[in-house]
Subunit: 313 residues, 2 copies
């Protein structure tokens, strides 16, 4: 799956992923009104609104980009109808030939991680039938539980040709509380916890790499808001493709991101969520108005691509 | 909510929680057959089977115990029908007056953690309506992202009178890979990462404690498989109630757990999942047979209560 992602990035010339993280406050009034008229001010109404909102954006931008990253929390908050909208979004993006990164940040003890891996990337056996479930192409995984929590995902990746991105250095302001701590490694020397996790991600990746592959199916999440850490981690994890959240609304800019990429301008994919999907609420794109919100998103994608291409020279 | 949990533990005399983690291989044939006859060998059929299985167990054990802990991964692996079975299980347990700990291990950057907190413990605003979503009483939370990832849960706990258990030292064999690392703390001295996280859990808890309360609404997860770490963490986190997974099938025994409790025999609640719900598959309870699987679960709960009461003296 990582080779498919690399291929799509090269074809579109756009190492970017659009975060489909629909908050109701991003959804234009006319879409909310239609949904609430049909389903009431209910979880069903909210789910219909975010699904229609997503569909408009995907229709407007799918030819420009290789991948989308729906954040499942934004759907889970609307309960079962919200998760149905999540599944419809995943399927619709696949229909549009987009790669789907499920931003689920799951991770648990072995047998439970296996269930999460099945839920998001694999197949579940029911009697004599093998059923796919949410069926994203990649999932994000939390490393706090160690190898036990990650390896079941790797098994499913191997079997179903999928991939994962493991949280290494997250984009949020307090990520350093634990991730930046100096820890004593097996060699007796100290390094940052995120460096240790990065080394482990690279080691896990060595088990999930085809012959001649440049990158493994075990990638890493490193926030755009920490460019120096991105540079360090690019060196520590030569096999890991880096998913870079935090561009745009969280503060990251193209010029900060050069060192997340390898010397050929590969090896990373940058996510923007709010900056794209709520572009029409940004002064820069406000002339589109809310009925043309999806066109504003397209313009924001084009600007983001230009920013990152410019930075990569 | 923590005071309600303590009250229920005292009333039942049972500091235990039953993990409702239904794997299809635990479900007796007659239940699977009825579900597959009605819904086919589909996600719907699987979800019906685990829901009926759960219902039997809850009916058989609810009067003995204060709380249940459904592991959402076991439902998520059956997709939307599975998550519907999760919600039915949560609601049914509430009807039986049980406290529900949603074992969801969520955690993300601030705005996203807020959505997870709303999904599992709070209310979402849809137009003029405030809707509850999955509505568990407690949720488990992953600390890797730091305060940003935890505080939104605490906000919802404050508003909706709920609680959380933060992962500190997990029960799985590889939990030490990162959690046991010696880290350099702010005071320049080294300690284990789990100790540092434990200190932080106790500090977070100080913000969520009523006057005269003995424990805060910010608890901790510490595995029964690590009794020495449990003793250390009991001291480090005087305000944190400890949720103790890993009893039974994962290897923990009552005698190992004494130091997770305070001097009054409070301060911890021990989870068993497979050991209870799949008791009929264990040689010790095999005389019940699979049609009386729920009676076997009741016997296993009674034995577990006796084991822990015995250990607590």
């Amino acid at each position: 799956m990582i080779n498919k992602l690399i291929d799509r990035i090269q074809k579109t010339g756009a190492p970017i992923v659009v975060g489909l993280d629909p908050n109701l406050k991003f959804v234009p009034e006319h879409i909310k009104k239609a949904a609430f008229d049909e389903y009431g001010e209910t979880l069903e109404g909210a789910a219909e609104a975010i699904w229609q909102f997503n569909r408009g954006i995907v229709d407007a931008v799918h030819d420009l980009i290789p991948a989308v990253k729906p954040q499942i929390a934004m759907y889970e908050q609307f309960g079962l109808p919200g998760l149905e909208a999540y599944k419809k979004t995943v399927d619709y993006c696949h229909d549009k030939d987009l790669i789907v990164v499920g931003d689920v940040k799951r991770g648990d003890i072995g047998s439970t991680s296996e269930s999460y891996a099945i839920a998001h990337l694999g197949h579940i056996q029911v009697g004599s039938e093998s059923c796919s479930v949410f069926d994203e192409d990649f999932a994000t995984v939390n490393p706090y539980l160690g190898s036990d929590g990650v390896k079941p995902f790797m098994e499913v990746c191997r079997k179903d040709n999928k991939g994962i991105f493991v949280l290494v250095k997250t984009s949020n302001p307090s990520s350093g509380e634990f991730q930046d701590r100096q820890v004593i490694a097996d060699d007796g020397r100290t390094r940052r916890l995120y460096e240790l996790v990065g080394e482990q991600v690279d080691a896990w990746g060595s088990e999930l790499m085809g012959e001649g592959d440049r990158y493994s199916c075990v990638g890493a999440v490193v926030g755009a808001t920490y460019p120096e850490e991105g540079r360090i981690l690019r060196d520590i994890m030569p096999r890991a493709f880096i998913l870079v959240p935090g561009y745009g609304a969280q503060g990251g800019r193209g010029a900060d991101l050069v060192h997340f990429f390898d010397k050929d301008g590969l090896g990373a994919i940058v996510n923007s969520s709010r900056g794209i999907i709520a572009a029409y609420q940004n002064e820069k794109y406000s002339s589109y108005g809310d009925t043309a919100y999806a066109d504003a998103s397209r313009a924001a994608v084009e600007d983001m691509i230009a920013d990152i291409r410019g930075a990569l020279g």
